[in-house]
């Protein structure tokens, strides 16, 4: 006898086409994406406007001949003063220039990611529309995965394009050797870092959205979480991505592209000297060579630890890598939470 009670199973489970779910995502979140584009657009117009002016001014500096002449020197100095800001006084009081703008842009990835990410799932949960969305043929996992992945990708691409614009805007000062690319306000806006932090903020906010079930509360908690993580990374974590090089010498090692991490004095037997160990006679001496003379006679060596400029991309990829990994994990966790969430 053959089995009669066999369940009729369709040969192949048909699935709702992704194109349609993509349209749903676009229709529901186009306002948030437009907001993101507007924010980046306003900042982008400023960078483009100032960048064009700056680049044409810098072209004149670059073309100045002979390079060492007083005329050229003055031209460069006035260029720097106008666009890079004064060297004296606090950076904050000097208005918008190439030194202050990067600091302002540091806040953008987190704001952008949180603003777009928090409502994606939280809005459905707080308004009850998840009861509609999760009972359609598409199924909640496919629905959530499509939405989160598409929005994350769109936002990341947008952020990356914007940071490329910043890199172009800032390039004259790197060419001029004013700074390395390692200070936090530059590292965060160059390379892949800006896009990676935008992605992380989106993932954190989307995940918190499904856990907290309130869009505004999720935004606030995500904003705080991401800010703490970003500051901790800049202050304490980033310098440990690779073992710094340690060298001795009288002058800072590497070129201006290096990231100087530490400087100390070492005695002949390997003991460390601190500023308080320097004799008062040397500290108070009017002779500019007194310090170097003291080092020589006491057999004391100056040590430096630094990250060479050539490690910039290595550092970018390490940070981009863990941010991408953590974001993927959070998005997967958000989808898992949608799957598990009971009405």
């Amino acid at each position: 006898m053959t089995a009669i009670a066999v369940q009729r199973v369709p040969a192949r489970t048909r699935r709702v086409p992704l194109r349609g779910v993509a349209w749903v995502t676009w229709r529901q979140h186009r306002a948030a994406l437009a907001g993101a584009v507007a924010l980046l657009g306003v900042l982008g117009v400023y960078l483009l406007w100032m960048g064009l002016e700056m680049h044409s001014a810098y072209a004149k500096v670059d073309a100045c001949h002979p390079a060492g002449s007083a005329v050229c020197h003055n031209l460069l100095q006035s260029f720097n003063q106008r666009y890079y800001g004064t060297q004296q006084g606090s950076v904050v009081s000097s208005g918008l220039n190439a030194q202050t703008v990067p600091f302002l842009l540091l806040a953008v990835p987190i704001l952008l990611g949180v603003f777009v990410g928090a409502p994606v799932l939280a809005r459905e949960l707080e308004s009850g529309t998840f009861r509609f969305a999760w009972t359609q043929a598409c199924g909640r996992v496919r629905w959530a995965a499509t939405k989160l992945i598409l929005l994350a990708a769109a936002l990341t691409v947008l952020a990356y394009a914007f940071s490329q614009l910043f890199a172009w805007y800032f390039s004259p000062f790197l060419a001029e050797g004013k700074t390395s690319k390692f200070p936090m306000q530059l590292f965060g806006n160059l390379g892949v870092d800006f896009a990676a932090w935008t992605l992380l903020a989106f993932a954190v906010a989307a995940f918190l959205g499904v856990m907290i079930r309130r869009a505004v509360a999720a935004m606030a908690v995500a904003l705080a979480t991401c800010t703490v993580l970003d500051v901790a990374t800049m202050m304490a974590l980033r310098q440990h991505y690779a073992t710094p090089l340690v060298v001795s010498g009288n002058n800072p090692p590497g070129s201006e592209s290096a990231w100087l991490l530490g400087q100390w004095l070492g005695g002949p037997n390997g003991q460390r000297f601190y500023p308080s160990n320097i004799p008062l006679s040397v500290q108070n001496s009017s002779n500019p060579d007194a310090f170097q003379n003291w080092l020589r006679t006491a057999h004391i060596t100056q040590w430096w630890s630094y990250v060479p400029g050539s490690d910039f991309w290595r550092f970018q990829l390490i940070e981009g890598g863990w941010l991408l990994g953590l974001s993927a994990l959070l998005i997967a966790a958000a989808i898992w939470a949608v799957r598990r969430r009971a009405a």
Partner: protein, 241 residues
Amino acid sequence: MNIIETAGLGKRYGRTWALRDCTLDVPGGHVVALVGPNGAGKSTLLNMATGLTTPTAGRVTVLGGVLAGSPPALDRIAFVAQDAPLYKNLPVTDMLRVARFLNLRWDAERAAARLSRLGIEPGKKVGALSGGQKAQLALTIALARRPDLLVLDEPLAALDPLARHDFMQSLLSEVAAEGISVVLSSHMVAELDQVADYLIVLGRGQVLVSGEVSSLVAAHGVGLEKLVLGYLREASMEVAA
């Protein structure tokens, strides 16, 4: 074919059981009324049958043995949740498109014809519709999915008496033409007379009675409303005793 089958089904929220030890076989081809006071476990039962909630105990299958919430179950069951949740900020046309793109089966002509018959403007925002129109839109979307089973959770609760009447009339005429099974929950028994031909009474998280209205009425010699009230009163006296 049984449209809903449960065995020892239970759902606990924290320490309280919203539904306990529920064993049911609901045959297809009926308009099933799921009645009981607020908090009786009606929504919990429907949420588990539609796959929104997973059971704490027991199991539930739909449409002749299909696991609730599985892809074929989602494809073949249309659910209108309580308060008919829809995207308020979308115009009616875009709301229909969202539903179309989230489903495999979609009868666009039927949806358009039904909306024009109801006088619902396609360009209007969902949030600007009246309660009755919103309920009708949700029903239109559910019917355009050409479901084998239509589940409605408290479809009448937010409607005024006239809208209730219109909603039930249009539901019945559509269902009669299609021959699809319907399960609807309500705490207002009077509205279900003349509509439902199968009755399930829930009280305090348990099934009090389940059966065809005609045989229940014949056995007790009273109308549907009195019948339900009788079961509920009996259940509350048992608890008191």
